[in-house]
């Protein structure tokens, strides 16, 4: 048994929020370069260059890559041999978010109720927290700071087994097509298959945590990802929806077991400001 004071978590979460907003992952840069080389549209090529310039300036000026610094989504793996002391675990995460968004000059984008009042909570809380209990005595905290523009282009569909893998691919491609320039392409397409209604959505979001340069460990899934990526890039949407060959730079799929009557499919769209950072305590 390892005792961890929840107060230790606060500065770690604070730093995750600030770092994720400024420093883009190497995998995103690598993929953008690869696609820029293949890009046929001059406007698209120039847009990708401006994205690189933005990544450089964000670090130089210590400013967030995008003004929408997102809702703070946490995927936490809590070791079952950890004993949390010193206060409320969830509140410690929220306090870290509060401090990070204030001290990092990040935008506060949360409203207290979704439709009637829509009053800004002014500190970007509450965070969305998903907890998994795992073996061990560590806590692994992953923050995904999710922007609203790309999140809005996401969708869950309860399909039928008879739709087959082709039906699933058609749905994913169509979802990207209907999104057009709205989610700030180049995008990353997260796909969750199986589980149930809500788990498919969670799988789609979690799939985005896999490095973009890492292939799917299941060969047949890797092939499906390649097929979706090719079809998506044949849509011609291009960076910002202004036309081009670079609509998506990666497709990531996560799948799980599901009920004999069901075939849930979820698509979570992620923009090129793909912010996620992990810390282990």
């Amino acid at each position: 048994m390892r005792e961890i004071d929840v107060k230790e978590i606060i500065p770690i979460v604070r730093k995750l929020c600030i770092d994720a907003s400024i420093y883009i992952g190497k995998d995103v840069v690598e993929k953008l370069k690869e696609f820029q080389e293949k890009e046929e549209s001059p406007i698209a090529k120039e847009i990708i260059s401006i994205i690189f310039e933005n990544q450089r300036l964000a670090v130089e000026k210590q400013m967030p890559l995008c003004q929408d610094t997102g809702v703070a989504v946490f995927f936490i793996e809590l070791g079952q041999d950890v004993h949390l002391v010193g206060g409320d675990f969830y509140e410690a995460i929220n306090e870290g978010v509060r401090q990070g968004y204030k001290e990092g000059y990040l935008r506060k984008s949360m409203v207290d109720d979704p439709i009637i009042e829509r009053k800004n909570t002014r500190d970007n809380t509450p965070a969305l927290i998903y907890l998994d209990i795992v073996p061990g005595d560590e806590i692994k905290i992953t923050l995904a700071a999710k922007g609203g523009g790309s999140e809005n282009m996401s969708e869950v569909k309860m399909m039928k087994a008879a739709d087959g893998i082709e039906g699933v691919i058609d749905f994913v491609v169509d979802r990207v097509k209907r999104s057009g320039g709205n989610p700030c392409p180049p995008i990353i397409v997260g796909v969750g298959l199986g589980g149930d209604f809500e788990q498919s959505a969670l799988l789609a979001k979690k799939s985005l945590l896999r490095s973009l340069t890492e292939k799917n460990s299941g060969t047949k899934w890797a092939k499906v990802e390649d097929e979706i990526l090719e079809r998506v890039n044949n849509l011609g949407i291009g960076p910002q929806g202004l036309g081009g060959r670079t609509t998506a730079i990666a497709v990531n799929i996560l799948h799980k077991a599901c009920h004999i009557a069901c075939m849930p499919v979820a698509v979570n769209i992620q923009c090129h400001v793909h912010r996620h950072k992990t810390a282990v305590i």
Binding site: I51, M63, P64, L106, R107, N182
Partner: protein
């Protein structure tokens, strides 16, 4: 890119006449920020026959909710937000004299028709290139709806603010034509 054009606000019909979709434009002058919540309030004022917090004639509205400014800086990161959420409001503002909009993503038919009718343009800024865009913003001050936080209306002084013409006054649409060109 086909060509770079310079625009000064308030916009004049003569300058807008020559804009083609895909043109790169650099804007200098004053522009105003507004997102969903501010749009709703502006439209409510127009419908109630009341005066707007700024003179909208010939002006540009930039769809943005910037991040907070660091001390000594005029503004934080300031890239565009998705424009379709403003589609229900834009035709009313265009009828009131608005001449330009800056945002990201395509507009609906009502907005495009209203741009033709009112000789107005829609300019695409690059979503997610928010630090680049902030470099062209020299001053920012909240002029209305402070209670809305990031969604308050700000008056921005910009110099060579970079955009791409997405819809010109003739109804051409880069979102449509660009995609058709590269579709396979």
């Amino acid at each position: 890119m086909p060509g770079t054009k310079y625009l000064q606000t308030p916009l004049k019909d003569d300058n807008l006449k020559e804009l083609k979709i895909g043109d790169k434009v650099l804007i200098t002058g004053t522009i105003y920020t507004a997102r969903d919540a501010a749009h709703k309030r502006l439209v409510d004022l127009i419908e109630a026959g009341k005066e707007l917090p700024f003179d909208i004639k010939g002006q540009i509205i930039y769809f943005v909710g910037p991040s907070p400014a660091r001390p000594g800086m005029p503004i934080g990161s300031a890239g565009p937000t998705t424009s379709y959420r403003m589609d229900p409001y834009s035709p009313i503002l265009l009828d009131a004299g608005l001449k330009g909009m800056i945002g990201k993503g395509p507009r609906n038919k009502e907005v495009i028709d209203s741009m033709i009718k009112n000789k107005a343009v829609y300019l695409a800024a690059i979503g997610g290139a928010a630090v680049v865009m902030a470099q062209s913003i020299k001053e920012a001050k909240v002029i209305a709806y402070e209670d809305l936080g990031p969604e308050a209306i700000r008056e921005l002084k910009v110099e060579n603010f970079p955009c791409i013409v997405a819809n010109n006054i003739y109804g051409n649409d880069l979102f449509d034509e660009g995609v058709r060109k590269y579709k396979k």
